[in-house]
Homo-oligomer: 204 residues x 2
């Protein structure tokens, strides 16, 4: 505290902070890579520490625990999903809803471990409480934007939740081998057809 504002003191501290930030990111990336290569069961603190070439306690100087590492991976994954959805513009004649659905399902299919960390593992991200990470809001926002053109006079938020839930259900059940792969295309057609028919409002 006393004499900390020296010339090279502050620049050294800068370097330290930069190195810390780099290592922080290295841990996240390594955890993600390891999970994608061998599944989350293979991501133990020892293996992770070995891969980043430090000892376990270093991990705990960056994250409160293993859960926090998974959470960090999940947040960055949400950012990736949001980016993917944003640039998933419909090709000729295709609805925006379909483009979003296909991008979402492809993400879940290609990066199952990442998807797991984001939406399956209990590791509850704040979500309802306090501060929801911006990345998650972005991803959900992209879904809202995709649903908006077809919502008609239906509640936009609720319809987006239905859309998201359906995609999530398809993604997770398909991942567990619970759905027939030969029905993939038909299934998606049926879902999109059902959601985008905005003819009249019924009570049933």
């Amino acid at each position: 505290m006393s004499s900390s504002a020296r010339f090279c003191g502050v620049t050294i501290q800068n370097r330290r902070e930069r190195e810390r930030a780099e290592r922080h990111q290295l841990i996240i990336d390594t955890a993600r890579d390891l999970a994608e290569a061998e599944g989350w069961d293979a991501v133990t603190t020892r293996r992770l520490a070995e891969k980043v070439e430090y000892s376990q306690p270093v991990l705990y100087s960056h994250f409160k625990g293993k859960d926090a590492i998974v959470r960090a991976v999940a947040v960055q994954g949400s950012g990736e999903l949001a980016r993917l959805l944003r640039k998933a513009r419909p090709s000729r004649g295709e609805s925006r809803l379909r483009a979003a659905a296909e991008a979402y399902l492809e993400f879940a299919r290609e990066r199952p471990a990442l998807y797991d960390a984001m939406f399956v593992q209990q590791v509850d991200l704040p979500w309802g409480t306090s501060e929801v990470p911006q990345e998650l809001l972005d991803a959900f926002g992209e879904l809202v934007a995709a649903v908006e053109p077809v919502h008609g006079d239906r509640d936009l938020d609720a319809l987006t939740e239905v859309f998201w839930s359906s995609l999530h259900g398809i993604a997770t059940l398909a991942q567990g081998g619970r759905l027939r792969p030969d029905l993939d295309a038909i299934r998606l057609d049926l879902l999109l057809g059902a959601l985008s028919l905005t003819q009249d409002e019924d009570r049933l």
Copy 2:
């Protein structure tokens, strides 16, 4: 082998088998109860063994490993779900689809740990391969029966998968606190409305 068909030999063996079967069921029930009370993380072989008042190795004389116990719980849970869906007849004016959806979601809400074992945990039940437990087929069959009245000329199996996926997505996302509880009713209305409108087939 040689002289095993004695009078009381066979009856004693019967008693033994009956006791074994009872203990087998006791293990499954205790595991389910413990999971429902404190979550699957609390179900360790030691705690489970303590609750059934035997030592851990006894568990392994009944099941190949912890996964097999969870699997057994899941299979019996599927039987329960099937039974629940079967007796979920629509009350006046209500569609059968809605009755099934409400029963399904209520099951997932009231027995989250059981639902987890059945459809969330990796613990892959045979499913595609070899012998799918009859309980699972029954449960899916009930869903098919609920979708049948509204499928029109749409593929029944694929539409049922869509229905199931949507329910599963809603159940799991709601369980994780990812959906707004105040939209519960509207969300279900939207889903049912979307799936049961069988006006015309569109390509989009």
